[in-house]
């Protein structure tokens, strides 16, 4: 009996395509955010608020991930922004391979900011890099303040958590300070905002965070040495 080395990463098939996606998007000056949450937390509603604001400032595209149908795409169709629906068929998350074929059309459309709405799921989307620059997650107040310690991978992937449906706070036992402290235990430095897609509270702050991240990426790309990144 003898031992031989292998040293093969088991997520490498997805991660290799994600790196390709990231290089391709960056080479074409596109900032990409992946939006994740449990089902029904308000991802599409947040986009309904943000798209009209952002569309006035950036050329937008949206990738909609759902298992079946295009219910979310139909909600967003009226804003004059290209919406690309991806149906996973059965998979509970988007992965880099699923998103890859759409990227050429997104580039051809002259996109500057790509918003990806992932499949509603607090577990699996966090495990699959798509090639995005940032992850935004939503946690609605009806889901409970104990979620950060139960779903550490997602809370650590997200640069921003929008605690949504705060208009319902007094109808729940959601302990907002506890949820924020818990999120910051699991991911010190995570940005936390409170939002409501009924009243519009906090939406401007989410937009401001996104614009800060877009500007940061553009500055980083401008500062990079000439020839950095490849166009495929």
């Amino acid at each position: 009996m003898h031992q031989i080395d292998v040293k093969a990463g088991l997520l490498e098939p997805n991660d290799a395509i994600a790196r390709e996606n990231r290089e391709f998007l960056t080479a074409h000056g596109i900032y990409t955010v992946d939006i994740m949450s449990a089902p029904g937390s308000g991802k599409t509603s947040l986009l309904e608020w943000m798209i009209p604001i952002l569309a006035g400032r950036y050329r937008l595209a949206v990738v909609e991930g759902d298992i079946v149908g295009n219910a979310d795409k139909e909600r967003l169709d009226g804003f004059g922004v290209p919406i690309y629906q991806i149906n996973t068929g059965a998979a509970c998350h988007l992965d880099a391979h699923m998103v890859h074929p759409t990227l050429h059309r997104i580039v051809e459309a002259g996109t500057e900011v790509l918003l990806i709405e992932n499949v509603g799921n607090l577990v699996c989307p966090a495990e699959f890099d798509l090639g995005e620059d940032d992850v935004i997650m939503l946690l609605s107040v009806t889901e409970g303040h104990d979620k950060p310690k139960k779903y550490p991978l997602m809370f650590r992937r997200a640069g921003l958590v929008a605690i949504n449906k705060v208009d319902l706070l007094d109808r729940t036992n959601f302990d907002l300070p506890s949820a924020i402290a818990s999120a910051r235990d699991v991911h010190p430095g995570i940005a936390v905002l409170t939002t409501s897609c009924r009243t519009g509270e906090g939406i401007d702050d989410v937009v401001a965070w996104l614009e800060w991240r877009i500007a940061a990426k553009r500055a980083a790309v401008d500062a990079a040495p000439a020839g950095a990144g490849s166009s495929t």
Partner: protein, 122 residues
């Protein structure tokens, strides 16, 4: 999650290595970090199912579970992560990065000689 997909990646990675270094696989050593998001039981089960009827059938998966540790940019210390609190326990800084605990890789194979294959006599 998605241990079935990961098991398929594992089988492919092992088969690729065997092209360069043929042999009968007795055991596959896999490193799984505490925060890799993978259940070793589910991965083992998926592997047993998916390797059935292939040359890898019967190979044992040997798991090394890697504990979760973080390194602090402020004080330089590396400490275990307790209760999923990622602030540095030594100096309280928020500037920490996971050092170990996110691994998911095939590390080594234990091989024996290819068994003699009986050839049909014509």
């Amino acid at each position: 999650m998605h241990e079935a997909g990961i098991a398929l990646n594992l089988i492919e990675a092992v088969e690729q290595r065997l092209e360069q270094h043929p042999g009968h696989v007795d055991a596959i050593h896999v490193r799984v970090g505490e925060l890799a998001g993978v259940s070793t039981e589910a991965l083992d089960f998926a592997f047993q199912c998916l390797s059935a009827g292939t040359p890898l059938a019967g190979a044992r998966l040997v798991f090394e579970v890697i504990p979760l540790t973080m390194t602090c940019s402020a004080c330089g210390g590396t400490n275990p992560v307790e209760d999923l609190v990622f602030r540095c326990p030594a100096c309280g800084s928020e500037n920490t990065r996971v050092t170990t605990g996110r691994e998911l890789e095939v590390r080594t194979l234990e091989l024996s000689e290819e068994p003699e294959v009986a050839h049909a006599s014509n």
